[in-house]
C-alpha cells in the first residue's frame, strides 16, 4: 500500500507531462464531450416547443439547459476509455513491459485518466462558461444537493472507470474490441441519461436502465447536481446503490483480471 502511495503520484506526474505533450489531440478529444451534449440540448429544447405543455419529463427549456450544463461537467469528469485502447496494448504486445512491473497496470491507466481530466480542465471549463452564457440557465440547486452531488459524481466516475476497464479485459480473448467499446459507450448514451434524461425515456429503456449501472454513472449525479432530486433519503439511498455497484464491479474486475493474465500468459506474453 505504501508502495502504491509512492508509485501513484509518480505515475500521475508523468502522465500529466505526457498529456501536456499531446495537448492538441486532447483538446479535440475533449471537444466531443462538449459538442454532443450541446447538440442534444438544442434538440431537446426544440422538442419542448412541440410538447403539449412546453415540458418534457418535467423539464422546460431552462430545465434542459441546467440538465445539460451539468451533464457537460459530469460527462467530462466521469470519462473512461480503456475499452478502446486495451486491444491496442494487447495486440502490440505493449502490455508485456507493464506486466513485468511489480504493480498492477491498472494504476498507470488510472493515472492517465486523471491526468487527462486535470489537463483538459483548462479547456473544458471555459467552454462550460460559454454554455452558461449562451443558454442563461437559472439554477435551483441547494447546498446539500451540491455536496451530495459531488460525492455522486465521484462514485459515478469510479463506477464508469472500473466497469470500462473490466469490460476492456475482453481484449484478452478477442483481437479487436471496437465493437464492445461502441456497445458500452452506446449503452451509457442511451441508458445513462446522456441522450435524454432517464425520465424522458420510453418505458422499455427505463426498465433496462433500472437494471444496469449506467444511470448511476451519469444521470444520477447530474440529477442531484441539477437540483432535480428533493428527497435527501432518496439521494442517500442512491449514493449507497452507487457504492454497491462500485464494489460489485471491483469484485468482478479482480476475478477477470486474474483470468485475463492467465489467458495472456498462455498465448502471447
Amino acid at each position: 500500500m505504501s508502495h502504491l502511495l509512492r508509485a501513484f503520484p509518480a505515475f500521475l506526474r508523468v502522465s500529466i507531462q505526457a498529456m501536456l505533450q499531446y495537448r492538441g489531440e486532447i483538446l479535440l478529444w475533449c471537444m466531443w464531450g462538449i459538442v454532443n451534449p450541446t447538440v442534444l440540448y438544442v434538440m431537446w429544447s426544440a422538442a419542448t416547443r412541440g410538447a403539449p405543455d412546453g415540458k418534457i419529463a418535467g423539464l422546460d427549456q431552462n430545465g434542459f439547459a441546467v440538465y445539460y450544463f451539468f451533464l457537460l461537467i459530469v460527462g467530462h469528469l466521469t470519462a473512461a476509455w480503456d475499452v478502446y485502447n486495451m486491444s491496442y496494448l494487447v495486440r502490440k504486445g505493449q502490455l508485456s513491459p507493464l506486466l513485468l512491473r511489480p504493480i498492477l497496470p491498472m494504476w498507470e491507466s488510472l493515472s492517465s485518466n486523471l491526468a487527462y481530466k486535470i489537463t483538459t480542465l483548462m479547456f473544458a471549463a471555459p467552454m462550460w462558461l460559454v454554455f452558461i452564457l449562451i443558454t442563461q440557465p437559472s439554477f435551483q440547486t441547494q447546498w446539500w444537493q451540491a455536496g451530495l452531488g459531488m460525492i455522486a459524481l465521484l462514485l459515478g466516475a469510479a463506477l464508469n472507470y472500473m466497469l470500462c476497464y473490466t469490460v476492456a479485459l475482453v481484449a484478452f480473448w478477442t483481437t479487436k474490441l471496437d465493437a464492445v467499446g461502441e456497445i458500452y459507450f452506446g449503452l451509457g448514451m442511451l441508458l445513462g441519461g446522456r441522450m435524454a434524461p432517464v425520465d424522458a425515456l420510453p418505458p422499455y429503456l427505463q426498465i433496462a436502465s433500472e437494471f444496469l449501472p449506467f444511470k448511476w454513472m451519469f444521470a444520477f449525479p447530474v440529477e442531484v447536481l441539477a437540483g432535480m432530486r428533493d428527497d435527501v433519503h432518496a439521494v442517500t439511498r442512491g449514493l449507497l446503490i452507487q457504492a454497491a455497484w462500485v464494489m460489485l464491479v471491483v469484485l468482478v474486475f479482480r476475478i477477470s483480471w486474474h483470468l485475463a493474465v492467465k489467458r495472456y500468459s498462455a498465448v502471447s506474453g
Binding site: H3, R6, A10, V14, Q21, L100, S265, S268
Partner: protein, 340 residues
C-alpha cells in the same frame, strides 16, 4: 548456488491454421482448425549466480518463449522453473522486483517524454529508496554515457541511444537476474560493441546473472562463456564456446604454407578448398579424416607450415542451422499471440 533451474520446461501454442483462398478463408469463419506448435520442448538447464549465458538459435527456435517463461510473462504447458527461488509465472511482486527483462523490440519508456521521466517513474514503481536511486542512476548514466540524451524526448533518440536508455531503466532496481532479448537488435556495429562491453562490465561489477539472446554472434562470443543452443524448441547444446565447435563442427580447417606453388595438386580430393592463394591453401576436412589428410599432405608436398584449426563459430552455427537461420517465417509461432 543455482539461481535458475529449469526442468522439462515446455510450451505448446495452439495456432489457428489459415488456408489460402477466398472460399477457405470464409470457411474458416465458421470452423477453425488449430495446429499445435511446440515452441519449447522439454528443456533442462541450470544457471549459477553471476553467470552470463547466451541463447543461440534461429528465429522461432524458442529463445524468446523461454525467456518469457522465465520472466513470468508466459505460463508453460509443461515442466518447472525456479528463478531466485520463485516460480516465475506466479508473478509475485517480490520476484518481479528482483528481475528485469529487456525486449529489444518493445519499449518500456514513455515515448513522448524525456527518458529521465521514465526513470523517475520506474524508481517509484520499484520502490527504490531515493538515495539508492540517485546513486544507481548516476552510475548507469556515466557507464552508458547517456548524460546528454537524458532530457531529450525518447521518440527523438536514435535507436542506439534509446536502447541504452532502455538498459538503464532495466537496471535501476539492480535486478539480480537479467533477461536480455536481442539487446542490440538494429543498432549499428559500434554501438553494439559498446552495449556489449557495458553488459560485461555490469556483470563483473554487480555479479548479476544474465541470460542473453542475440542474432549477432559477436554479442555471444564476446560475452558468454557458456552457450545454450536451442533449435525447434529443443536444447541442442549446453556448454562452453570451444566445446560447441568441438561438438557441433563436423570438420576441421587445415591451413598449409607450401614451399612452392602447386597448382596441379588435387586438393579437392582431400577436402573442400576454402582458398588457394599462391602458396597458401586452406582446406575444410571432415573431422574424422583430419589426421589422415594431414599425413597425406605432409608426405605428398613440401610443407613449410601446417595448422589444424576449428572453424570460426559463425560457420559452425551456420552449419548447424543450415539455411534456416535466415528464414524468418518461423517467428510467427512466437508472436501468434492473442489472435486465437
Amino acid at each position: 548456488m543455482a539461481q535458475i533451474e529449469v526442468e522439462h520446461l515446455g510450451k505448446t501454442f495452439k495456432v489457428p491454421e489459415r488456408e489460402a483462398g477466398l472460399v477457405a478463408s470464409i470457411g474458416s469463419l465458421f470452423r477453425r482448425k488449430y495446429r499445435d506448435v511446440r515452441a519449447v520442448d522439454d528443456i533442462n538447464f541450470t544457471v549459477e549466480a553471476g553467470e552470463i549465458v547466451g541463447f543461440l538459435g534461429p528465429n522461432g527456435a524458442g529463445k524468446t518463449t523461454t525467456l518469457k517463461m522465465l520472466s513470468g510473462l508466459l505460463h508453460p504447458t509443461a515442466g518447472e522453473a525456479r528463478v531466485l527461488g520463485h516460480t516465475p509465472w506466479k508473478r509475485e511482486a517480490d520476484y518481479l522486483r528482483r528481475i528485469s527483462m529487456l525486449m529489444g523490440q518493445r519499449s518500456q519508456l514513455q515515448w513522448d517524454l524525456p527518458a529521465v521521466d521514465s526513470f523517475y517513474m520506474h524508481g517509484a514503481v520499484y520502490d527504490i529508496p531515493k538515495a539508492d536511486y540517485q546513486q544507481t542512476l548516476d552510475e548507469l548514466v556515466e557507464l552508458l554515457a547517456i548524460g546528454p540524451v537524458l532530457k531529450k524526448q525518447v521518440r527523438t533518440l536514435s535507436l542506439g541511444e534509446r536502447m541504452k536508455c532502455e538498459i538503464c531503466a532495466s537496471l535501476l532496481h539492480r535486478p539480480a537476474v537479467l533477461f536480455l532479448d536481442e539487446p542490440t537488435i538494429g543498432v549499428d556495429v559500434e554501438m553494439q560493441a559498446r552495449i556489449r562491453s557495458f553488459i560485461g562490465q555490469y556483470n563483473r561489477k554487480h555479479g548479476a546473472t544474465i541470460i542473453l539472446t542475440s542474432h549477432y554472434m559477436a554479442d555471444v562470443t564476446a560475452l558468454c562463456k557458456r552457450i545454450i543452443v536451442i533449435d525447434q524448441g529443443q536444447l541442442l547444446f549446453d556448454g562452453s564456446l570451444p566445446a560447441l565447435s568441438e561438438k557441433m563442427a563436423p570438420f576441421k580447417v587445415i591451413k598449409i604454407d607450401l614451399d612452392a606453388k602447386c597448382d596441379d595438386y588435387p586438393f579437392a580430393e582431400i577436402g573442400e578448398v576454402i582458398s588457394c592463394d599462391d602458396r597458401k591453401v586452406e582446406l575444410k576436412v571432415p573431422k574424422a579424416e583430419a589426421a589422415a589428410a594431414t599425413a597425406k599432405l605432409l608426405t605428398d608436398l613440401s610443407v613449410l607450415d601446417l595448422t589444424i584449426e576449428d572453424p570460426p563459430i559463425e560457420d559452425v552455427i551456420k552449419q548447424v542451422f543450415g539455411g534456416r537461420a535466415q528464414r524468418d517465417d518461423a517467428e510467427t509461432t512466437e508472436t501468434a499471440g492473442a489472435s486465437a
